[in-house]
Symmetry: C2
Subunit: 331 residues, 2 copies
């Protein structure tokens, strides 16, 4: 039983990122769609790793990155995600706990290894992800700590979780508990291919159980099978009380009923690696939102955090985001 | 049996670096000497990890970094070092092989885990290392592949190896084989505390078995128990045919008999993390030396590689060093 209140609980696939620089020819040779996230099996993971160059390992996972961002802003963050009791699992757990994220999901004692994502970063800073889910498949409803969900202002879940039935059940259970406790629920659509896989299900889920949707332009267009961004924004405004639509360097649009709040992207001198941009945007927005800030300020905090994370390799902030927000006059 | 000739074989402790940014207060609180390398046991490793912030994992190890540098220059590199058959060992092995380093030392099947070094980087870019040697203690003379040593122009060993008796024996055996095959031997003194631990032994070793010594200013002064750099240079000139003495931002002095070649440091805009500076200096020097370049050019290549590695986090080059050398008119 948690006696502590949390601002944001995130639930997602607990993944160690294995980041390598590659050229565009490598991406073509491996028949990958640049910018996408691909689920791979163990055999493909081994094959891909064998042809990749040297890499850097750093904790990642979409919702994990968001929790790290919230903590860096000084928010009270919790995380549910499954690693195995192995070296990468120990690293993942350390990296969460050491930044003050409440993370107590029991580690899997057997079964597949801690998940890893081979993240191929091309010279343009774009990333192509190849994820072996490993131990993530063991996240189940048993890992949904009811007391934590009930004690959290916003429970945020990554769409990627929907790819495995047990994790999907955990996702739905967490949403149910949050709603029953009068708390807010949130989802990120994660990836346009992910939207393709779950479109109908997500229409129902969003209408019935979600308070805040995060999506980028291609994801929201895919959700409503349209090429028209404004049309997609209009559609989501009918299905969900609040939607935050990010448009890369074009900034973002916050949609609340008929209201549209348009906030430009925070300038970035050099884009090193876009991994985590959406995750960190969500962290800034949710930190602001759970601290009663107006939508424009929430979005500006999101833009700032996204700008910080794409300016370096790796999907976790390298500086204290609260200090950065203060230095930029945003808090 | 190797039918291939190598330019440089390096032998050292195979270590995964666990790099975290800390402030100076953390270094004091943990009673560490900034800039030093400390050997720690498993209990201390756990205790230190528990209080450290989030980290990035990247393959390291002094001699391993040097082999990576030689390969990046386009040299033919081989490496002997011991990891365990675990996740970090697989990462280490991948990172060496993927850059073309010949690395076939059998992995330990039991015993302690793959070594890791907790590298604490302070805001000034200085690093303080805390190394748990783990599986490295299992490197023995059985791992010295005679055919590889015999086929290598320069066998280079890190002084750190001397801290464990079995590895020290492997070190001496490799030197013996190299000399018997008419090849060159080289050592880096690694760390001034390491010199303290082995001073008398190393005086004998260098005089009897070493052709090229690498040392920084504090190491060479410690070796000869003097505060006088020129005196230390004079002393090493009598004990060893060739010595390469690095002096951080003051550049380096190459000592060959009465000859002194003084080469300035390559300019660096911002020092992010000095880890690997000496290792990469050695890689550039040895690449040049095994390709028949004059001493001044060898030292300039070393300075260039050192400058590249300290401009970012992590002790392995992030760009192709051969290309960088060409861009700088050094090759």
């Amino acid at each position: 039983m948690s006696t502590h209140e949390f601002d944001v609980l995130t639930i997602g696939n607990a993944i160690v990122d294995v980041i390598a620089k590659v050229d565009d020819a490598f991406v073509s040779r491996e028949k990958l769609v640049k910018g996408s996230m691909n689920l791979i099996d163990e055999a493909r993971a081994e094959q891909l790793y064998a042809v990749m160059g040297p890499a850097t390992e750093i904790s990642g996972g979409s919702a994990g990155n968001t929790a790290a961002g919230v903590a860096s802003f000084g928010g009270r963050a919790a995380y549910f995600g499954k690693v195995k009791e192995d070296q990468l699992g120990a690293i993942y757990s350390h990296d969460m706990k050491s930044i003050g994220v409440h993370f107590t999901t029991p580690k899997a004692k057997d079964g597949p290894a801690t998940a890893r994502s081979f993240i191929l970063v091309t010279p343009d800073g774009e990333r192509t992800m190849n994820t072996y889910l490993g131990a993530c498949v063991n996240l189940t409803t048993a890992d949904v700590d009811k007391a934590v969900v009930e004690a959290t202002k916003v429970t945020y879940m990554e769409g990627y979780l929907y790819d495995k039935p047990e994790a999907k059940a955990a996702f739905r259970e967490a949403a149910r508990i949050a709603r029953a406790a009068g708390r807010l629920t949130s989802i990120t659509l994660s990836d346009s291919f992910c939207v393709e896989r779950h479109r109908d299900d997500w229409h129902d889920l969003i209408k019935s159980s979600i308070d805040i949707v995060f999506a980028n332009e291609s994801e929201i267009k895919s959700l409503y099978k349209t090429q028209n961004f404004d049309g997609a924004a209009e559609a989501i405004s009918r299905d969900c009380p609040l939607a935050v639509l990010t448009r890369s360097h074009k900034g973002c649009v916050v949609v609340r009923g008929d209201e549209r709040v348009i906030v430009p992207a925070h300038p970035v001198e050099h884009v090193a690696d876009v991994t985590g941009a959406g995750d960190l945007f969500a962290s800034g927005f949710l930190f602001g939102h759970t601290h009663g800030k107006p939508l424009r300020q929430c979005a500006a905090l999101g833009s700032l955090a996204a700008a910080e994370v794409i300016s370096h390799t790796g999907a976790r902030p390298e500086v204290n985001l609260l200090q950065l927000a203060r230095d930029n006059g945003l808090i």
